[in-house]
């Protein structure tokens, strides 16, 4: 890449006719039905970090102290699976993966709200912190913000309803 191309936000995909630095919808019949360009890359990166972190934390909890809070830790494992599915499906193109990612992100949103509420009102079954405990307080409330951003992004990059 020449030096002059380094300072623009759109030159990377100029050849494909897609200004990936902006939020414009892709044009053309061979339109990329993707969620993994532009801001989506940051979203996927954050999802990947959470997938990794939630899996590690749930794994540790289940392997070492499952009996202390089985319900909470099972939900923790479930959260990890949801994050993994969300990460993978957001990174892939196509209509089917779009549906998978919408499902995953919706489940994630419901999950963080339900587990957040349960952890608030049912301290007996939720004595310890999981990724969705207290609406993700232990992670700077990112688990609460993430699905909302995810849904917004998915809406922006939804597959065109009508093809030419």
């Amino acid at each position: 890449m020449s030096a002059s191309q380094q300072d623009t936000s759109g030159s990377a995909d100029a050849a494909a006719g897609q200004p990936s630095g902006s939020l414009a919808e892709p044009a053309g019949p061979a339109a990329e039905d993707t969620r993994n360009t532009g801001p989506g890359r940051l979203l996927i990166a954050v999802y990947a970090v959470f997938a990794l972190s939630a899996t590690a934390r749930a794994g540790y909890q289940i392997l070492t102290k499952f009996s202390e809070a089985p319900l909470a830790y099972l939900l923790s494992a479930f959260a990890a699976v949801v994050y993994i599915v969300a990460t993978v499906s957001l990174a892939k193109a196509g209509r089917t993966w779009f549906k998978v990612s919408v499902t995953a992100v919706l489940v994630e949103l419901i999950g963080v709200l339900v587990v957040g509420a349960l952890s608030l009102f049912d301290a007996v079954n939720f004595p310890h912190e999981t990724v969705w405990s207290l609406f993700g307080r232990g992670y700077g409330f990112i688990p609460l913000l993430l699905p909302i951003l995810g849904l917004i992004w998915l809406y922006r990059r939804r597959p065109a309803a009508k093809q030419a």
């Binding site: 360009t37 890359r41 940051l42 990166a45």
Partner: protein, 117 residues
């Protein structure tokens, strides 16, 4: 908090600020931003080597050893993964992805310090 943490704190924050600034200015990942993330990786490698030496010379980890090493190994993978992901698409958003590395490494280093002592 020990020296390893403070090194990662400084390098990580510098890297994050640099990458966020570059992203705001709509720059694509360039030598500066990528090297700043490489510097974070280097700081983590220093932490790794130092920790191995300390354990080898008999120092005990107060918390769970495998939790400490798990965090460290994971942290070491993040800069590599982020640079790979960022290089595939050279836009301002890739710089924001790179920016996440420094601050994440910092949080993990804090946690590792907690486990060690």
């Amino acid at each position: 908090m020990d020296a390893y943490f403070y090194i990662i704190l400084v390098v990580g924050l510098l890297s994050t600020f640099l990458c966020v600034g570059a992203g705001i200015l709509k720059k694509a990942p360039n030598d500066a931003t990528i090297l700043s993330v490489a510097a974070v990786e280097l700081s983590l490698l220093v932490y790794l080597v130092g920790s191995i030496v300390r354990v080898a010379s008999g120092e005990r980890i107060a918390g769970e050893p495998w939790e400490f090493w798990g965090y460290l190994v994971t942290a070491l993978m993040l800069p590599v993964g982020a640079v790979y992901w960022a290089i595939l698409e050279r836009t301002r958003w890739s710089n924001f992805v790179l920016a996440a590395v420094g601050v994440t490494a910092l949080v993990m280093a804090a946690r590792m310090n907690q486990i060690w002592y």
